[in-house]
């Protein structure tokens, strides 16, 4: 038995040496976070970018929020942008120029619905000691934000359970658990920054594995023609493929944007407002052809009149339809059905910053 424990101790000692070495490497290549910014993380999908994201050790947009907020300096005046993948096209640098007193955190996550937005708000609230006074939440919504949890949109299968992307990432390192379909911390909030720091060597592993896998996937993909994605198609074929993809991802139209979901969104906004923060709901535009042809979009336009109008009566909360602040939008302003081009994204960012400035009295700064 002595020999068993002796050998175990030797292996453990060498393991610790590796651990310390990698920990040192992470601090060398990825200094501590000053801001949560998902905009570049979103771009890392599908290409080899190891070493290009020197300011960020987190693999994806969800990790950046779930872990990143715990090691990000909590500024007294900050803007946190949440929403889906189209909100990820908002450019924080452009907003920063217009709002120099604020720290801009782009904390949007792809395929977000109300459940994911609630989880993000939960992380922000738990990671911010005291009141959220001085924090402005910009919630970028569009028709695709209001899908039911049972729809397949953005869900990943884990141990036969359908999890949202954020939930799966939360469970990955065991720092969060799921209770009643909501993410909850496993550790006390004061322990979280330490836990995130201790995880850094493994976060580095994530980056390396991801990049290696992307490299091999691309190598194999070049051997075999992969089925065309809607964005590779053109004209009417592209539109029909996109509409079919949305139908698949947003689920049954009856369950989509139903009253319960809309009420949940209103409740979430009220909760944020109660915690001391201000809220700006930005209705992000979709491509004009999508507005005309999608049954989901049509249902959403009816529902938003009922529910998002109600939100306007809450103090420190503003609603804006971004399309009203922009020059007339065309299909050419979008790379697909909902995601704007880079230039259009910058215009969105300027318009949102301008709106926030114009509402400073109501937003309390």
């Amino acid at each position: 038995m002595k020999n068993i424990f002796k050998q175990m101790a030797v292996i453990l000692l060498f393991f610790c040496l590796w651990y310390v070495f990698f920990l040192f490497l992470t601090y060398h290549f990825y200094p501590e976070n000053t801001v949560v910014d998902n905009s570049r993380l979103h771009e890392r999908n599908n290409r080899l970018v190891l070493g290009k994201l020197k300011s960020n050790i987190f693999l994806n947009d969800a990790q950046n929020i779930l872990l990143g907020f715990w090691v990000t300096k909590h500024e007294s005046k900050r803007i946190i942008i949440i929403g889906g993948s189209n909100a990820l096209r908002i450019n924080p640098a452009v907003m920063q120029k217009a709002l120099p007193d604020f720290t801009i955190n782009l904390a949007a996550v792809r395929n977000s619905n109300i459940t994911q937005l609630r989880d993000i708000v939960y992380v922000v609230r738990k990671s911010s000691p005291g009141s959220l006074k001085g924090t402005i939440f910009i919630i970028g919504v569009c028709f695709a934000t209001f899908f039911n949890d049972n729809a397949s949109g953005g869900h990943v299968l884990y141990e036969n359970k359908n999890l949202t992307f954020l939930e799966a990432e939360g469970l990955r390192y065991g720092l969060y658990k799921l209770r009643d379909n909501k993410l909850e911390l496993v550790l006390a909030p004061r322990m979280m920054p330490l836990a995130v720091h201790l995880l850094r060597p493994f976060l580095l592993c994530d980056l390396v594995f991801y990049d290696l896998k992307s490299y091999y996937d691309n190598s194999f993909a070049s051997l075999h023609a992969v089925q065309k994605k809607p964005q590779d198609l053109k004209g009417e074929e592209f539109k029909q493929a996109s509409l079919a993809e949305w139908r698949d991802s947003l689920g049954n139209i009856r369950d989509f944007a139903e009253d319960g979901i809309m009420s949940d969104f209103v409740t979430l906004c009220k909760e944020i407002e109660k915690s001391g923060a201000s809220v700006v709901i930005v209705d992000l535009p979709s491509a004009p052809w999508m507005q005309n042809e999608s049954e989901y979009y049509k249902k959403y336009t009816l529902k938003r009149l009922l529910y998002l109008d109600e939100d306007r009566i809450i103090p420190r909360l503003r609603y804006v339809n971004l399309a009203t602040l922009l020059p007339p939008i065309t299909d050419g302003d979008f790379v697909d059905s909902v995601h704007p081009t880079k230039e259009e994204g910058e215009m969105w960012s300027k318009a949102i910053a301008g709106f926030v400035l114009s509402q400073r009295k109501f937003l309390g700064f």
Binding site: M1, N3, I4, K6, Q7, M8, V10, I11, L12, F14, F15, L17, W18, Y19, F22, V156, L157, Y158, E159, A168, L171, R172, Y173, P201, F202, C205, D206, F209, Y210, D217, F220, L223, H224, V226, Q227
Partner: protein
């Protein structure tokens, strides 16, 4: 209990402590049964789920006692039949789907392996190969050994009993302990990283294959099929042999010598050789308890010296058909059985004919390096194509057969031989250049520990990375 969970490793360390801290005389009679029971209980939510397993084990034990007591053919055949009937019923085989099965969920993990152990004991008791009376503790320890409970290896009772009696008499040396830990970490590496990657790629190519349009050239389709098959085979190998590494090294630390199940199977030069290197304990079991009796039966029935080698051809087909069919409860595994049976019997027939007519040249051909390379590639390609039965259901397999026809399968087979021969050539070249250097480095104390701990670090990192996507042990289902 999932072998790739923190729970398992807590169990692992606790088991070592409890086992070694307890007095020697209680280790087998008390501690080991308790560890087995605890391990099995982690698979069930309530005790009633254990009832079918208890009935199955009870039937086996009573059967063995009956054969011990009466020592006649009737007792043996009755006991064997009862065990087989209960097994078929509990496994819910497709060919007895008309039976009213138990609707409530129950523990079915490891049933096949328990069957092998019980049948082996029954036959050996009947043939007097086991002389001493089998006690309840030895029976339960042997059948429910937590090290081999989930998917083997299939140990013989006589071998287990020898170890039981000599347990704790010899302390492990530092080198032995290090080698065991080293093997365990290599096993984890295989299961967590290599099998996950191979599984991912086989699913990837499989989905490409399903998406294939009718207009796609047949060569592209064949390439997708053979790559999916290759990755599936590698996935099975890394998953199963990795699991064996973990279990055997764990057993070694506790003082048990479990039999090896793999011996570099992908270096086999023929299909006959392949089955002496792949899932060795299963092949041995079938050899002892099915192949040999069947050949003996044929020889007794038709005693013709010249025909004896051809009895082997027939026996191979019969035994490997059964073995293939055992792999699953659906009809597609009958096709798998036919595939294995055909492979073995054709290989045996070729061997018999070549030895008969071209004895000298055949020996030279076998010993030639190039023919060895081609034989290895041919074996792997054939076996990989056969494993497609494990990932296709009957409907998909029929679709594939219609789409491919004979020429499609032949083309895939040839392409597979070409690809695998190329891969082997590269591996051998690498070994030739770096082999000696790596071997000498492994002997160095600091290098071996540094490398092993790095491997462990990478395994943990990948375990986090592949969260939820690390495959479970594939043979757990048997």
């Amino acid at each position: 209990m999932d072998f790739l969970s923190i729970k398992f490793f807590i169990f692992f360390f606790s088991a070592i402590c409890i086992f070694y801290l307890s007095p020697l005389r209680y280790r087998i009679s008390v501690v080991f049964p308790l560890l087995n029971l605890f391990f099995i209980l982690t698979y069930v939510n309530n005790l009633s789920q254990l009832l079918p397993l208890v009935v199955f084990l009870g039937a086996g034990f009573i059967g063995i006692r009956l054969v011990e007591t009466f020592a006649n053919r009737v007792a043996f055949i009755t006991s064997l039949s009862v065990i087989l009937v209960i097994f078929v019923y509990l496994k819910k085989y497709a060919f007895v789907s008309f039976l009213p099965f138990i609707s409530r969920s129950y523990l079915s993990v490891g049933l096949s392996y328990i069957l092998f152990r019980m049948v082996q004991m029954l036959i050996d008791v009947y043939q007097k190969s086991i002389q001493e009376r089998v006690s309840l503790v030895s029976f339960s320890n042997f059948c429910c050994n937590f090290l081999t409970f989930v998917s083997g290896p299939i140990q013989r009772y006589q071998d287990y009993k020898l170890q039981e009696s000599s347990l704790g008499q010899k302390a492990l040396t530092e080198r032995e302990v290090f080698d065991s830990f080293s093997r365990m970490i290599h096993g984890l590496f295989k299961v967590v990283i290599l099998s996950t990657l191979c599984m991912g790629y086989y699913k990837w190519f499989f989905s490409f294959m399903q998406d294939s349009t009718v207009n796609e050239s047949s060569l592209v389709l064949c390439r997708k099929f053979i790559l999916a098959s290759f990755f599936c085979s590698l996935y099975l190998y890394f998953n199963f042999s990795g699991y064996m590494d973990i279990v055997i090294s764990f057993g070694k630390i506790l003082g048990f010598e479990l039999p090896e199940n793999f011996n570099r199977p992908f270096e086999s030069r023929s299909f006959l050789e392949f089955w002496s290197r792949w899932h060795i304990t299963l092949s041995e079991w079938f050899k002892f308890y099915l192949f040999n009796p069947f050949v003996l039966f044929l020889t007794d029935k038709w005693p013709n010296r010249k025909a004896v080698p051809y009895y082997g051809v027939l026996a191979y087909f019969f035994v490997f058909f059964i073995m293939g069919a055992w792999h699953g409860s659906s009809w597609v595994f009958l096709i798998y059985g036919l595939f294995l049976g055909a492979g073995m019997s054709i290989n045996k027939l070729f061997d018999v004919l070549m030895r008969k007519y071209y004895s000298v040249q055949y020996k030279k051909i076998i010993e030639h390096g190039l023919s060895g390379l081609l034989g290895t590639a041919l074996t792997f390609s054939y076996w990989s194509m056969g494993t497609s039965c494990c990932w296709l259901d009957l409907k998909d397999l029929v679709k594939l057969m219609i789409k491919f026809k004979i020429q499609g399968f032949l083309m895939s087979f040839l392409l597979g031989i070409f690809l695998w021969a190329g891969a082997l050539w590269l591996v051998r070249g690498f070994k030739y250049i770096f082999g000696r250097g790596i071997t000498s480095l492994n002997g160095n104390f600091y290098f071996s520990r540094t490398w092993l701990s790095f491997e462990l670090f990478i395994v943990i990192g990948f375990w986090f990375y592949g969260f939820g996507g690390i495959p479970d042990f594939v043979y757990k289902a048997f």
